[in-house]
């Protein structure tokens, strides 16, 4: 409960600071550079949850604990949600700065493939009637999809030659305004906290749904 309140306050402070405290970076039309505080954390959370889902799938296949599958499913759902948010917010930024909503920039390409992989993941889950089989298949597909992703690095032409702004927007490189950096890190924490909170809610929901299903209860009792 206290976590929820803290998170709400923190998120509110970050949003206010993003618009009032931080200064908009030079070289971007109007106030568009403020997207940094929302788009980048969204993309970060999307990546984090995909990785988490794959690891949970591996654990499930090795140990066959229903808990691990719940984590994999919940993380995949969160990943899809934040992936869509990042795509939408990025697309608006692209329209404002590069002139078109969609440009097949290397990162746009890779995010579309991620969206397709997770679309397929949920299609597979909904098509397998048997609960145990569904979990195993979803785990296997998750690993297979993860293995093909590195090939995109070779395939997408020069993945580093992106339209994405680097020097002023990448906190790992010098050139970021200290105020911007502060708000950015705050936002990163806020989004990660939001992700963890939503993830736990989703897992609780899955567990409650599962307890109605006699098949799953057996797996839960250990």
């Amino acid at each position: 409960m206290i976590v929820k309140v803290l998170l709400t306050v923190w998120m509110g402070v970050v949003i206010a600071a993003a618009f009032l405290y931080a200064e908009s970076a030079a070289g971007f039309p109007g106030e568009t550079s403020r997207i940094l505080f929302f788009h980048v954390p969204q993309a970060w959370v999307a990546t984090l949850s995909f990785l988490l889902s794959m690891i949970a799938s591996c654990i499930f296949l090795a140990r066959r604990r229903v808990k691990a599958d719940h984590l994999a499913l919940a993380a995949a759902e969160m990943g899809l949600l934040f992936c869509i948010l990042a795509t939408a917010s990025g697309s608006i930024f692209a329209r404002a700065t590069w002139g078109s909503f969609w440009n097949w920039d290397p990162r746009e390409t890779s995010i579309v493939i991620l969206l397709m992989i997770y679309g397929a993941y949920f299609a597979l889950r909904s098509a397998v009637p048997d609960a145990e089989k569904r979990r195993v298949f979803a785990g296997v597909f998750s690993i297979l999809a993860f293995v093909t992703v590195p090939f995109l690095v070779f395939v997408v032409p020069r993945i580093t030659a992106s339209l994405h702004p680097e020097n002023t927007m990448n906190p790992a490189k010098p050139g970021m305004d200290p105020k911007t950096l502060k708000v950015f890190l705050g936002s990163l924490i806020a989004y990660t906290g939001l992700f963890v909170w939503m993830l736990r809610l989703k897992i609780r929901l899955l567990r409650l749904e599962g307890s109605r299903d006699p098949e799953i209860v057996e797996g839960e009792m250990e």
């Binding site: 397929a120 597979l124 145990e132 298949f137 690993i143 297979l144 093909t148 090939f151 070779f154 395939v155």
Partner: protein, 237 residues
């Protein structure tokens, strides 16, 4: 079949002999019913005719041809393969022979046998589609060696990436649509690579070391090794 007994035969069988037995059995079944071959080839021929008829061989300008023809060729190949490759496992499920197969061979051997069968189908598909495409579209290829290598390794990757998916969807509902939905994101890196390789071959950019062919080989190897690891999990369920 020493002593005319099956038991001694299976008792001393290896992965390779089991896989070969499954491959030959599937081939024999395919010669009798011709279901998968008919589905895949007719799909391919229909698409090929549609593309050739609607575009013709002079519609696309000289400069654009190498790239656009490579795109069209690979779209035809990938979607024809997706229309029928799932048969290898779906037919076991439909005929109710899945359980017998599980008893009579080890999972990895089943996977290899099915993989070879799918690769045989893909070979037949490419043997018919690629020459017809070149003839119908007047596709000029400056470097036939690279082109052939790309088509062969690309086809190999198609089989390597989809066989394990076929095993999964055979046990799911809504099989037909699901096979394409699951396979396509896995095949996308391979498809983009193959298109680029064929474009280079058509332009005559020989380059050094044929990077696209090497990526396709690496992709196939990774997918086969991962499938050998993961296949027993979905097979023993």
């Amino acid at each position: 079949m020493k002593n005319g007994s099956w038991i001694t035969q299976t008792g001393s069988s290896t992965y390779l002999s089991e896989a070969t037995a499954i491959w030959l059995r599937d081939l024999r079944g395919e010669f009798r019913t011709r279901y998968a071959v008919n589905a895949i080839l007719m799909f391919a021929v229909t698409t090929l005719v549609a593309v050739s008829f609607s575009i013709g061989s002079f519609r696309i300008g000289e400069a654009e041809q190498p790239f656009l023809y490579a795109v069209l060729l690979w779209i035809i190949l990938v979607f024809s393969a997706l229309s029928g490759l799932s048969r290898s496992f779906v037919k076991e499920e439909e005929a109710g022979t899945m359980d017998v197969l599980k008893l009579s061979a080890r999972p990895q051997a089943v996977f290899l046998g099915k993989l070879w069968f799918n690769l045989t189908l893909l070979g037949a598909l490419e043997l018919i589609v690629v020459p017809s495409f070149i003839l119908l579209m007047n596709y000029e290829i400056k470097h036939p060696g690279l082109f052939t290598a790309m088509v062969i390794t690309g086809g190999f990757g198609l089989g390597a990436g989809t066989t394990i998916v076929a095993a999964m969807i055979a046990q799911a509902s809504a099989r037909g649509a699901l096979f394409s939905v699951l396979s396509f994101p896995l095949l996308l890196p391979l498809m983009i690579t193959a298109i680029k390789g064929c474009e280079k071959a058509a332009v005559g950019m020989n380059g050094t070391g044929w990077p696209e062919v090497r990526i396709a080989v690496a992709y196939s190897t990774v997918m086969i090794i991962m499938s050998l690891f993961l296949f027993p999990l979905i097979w023993d369920e």
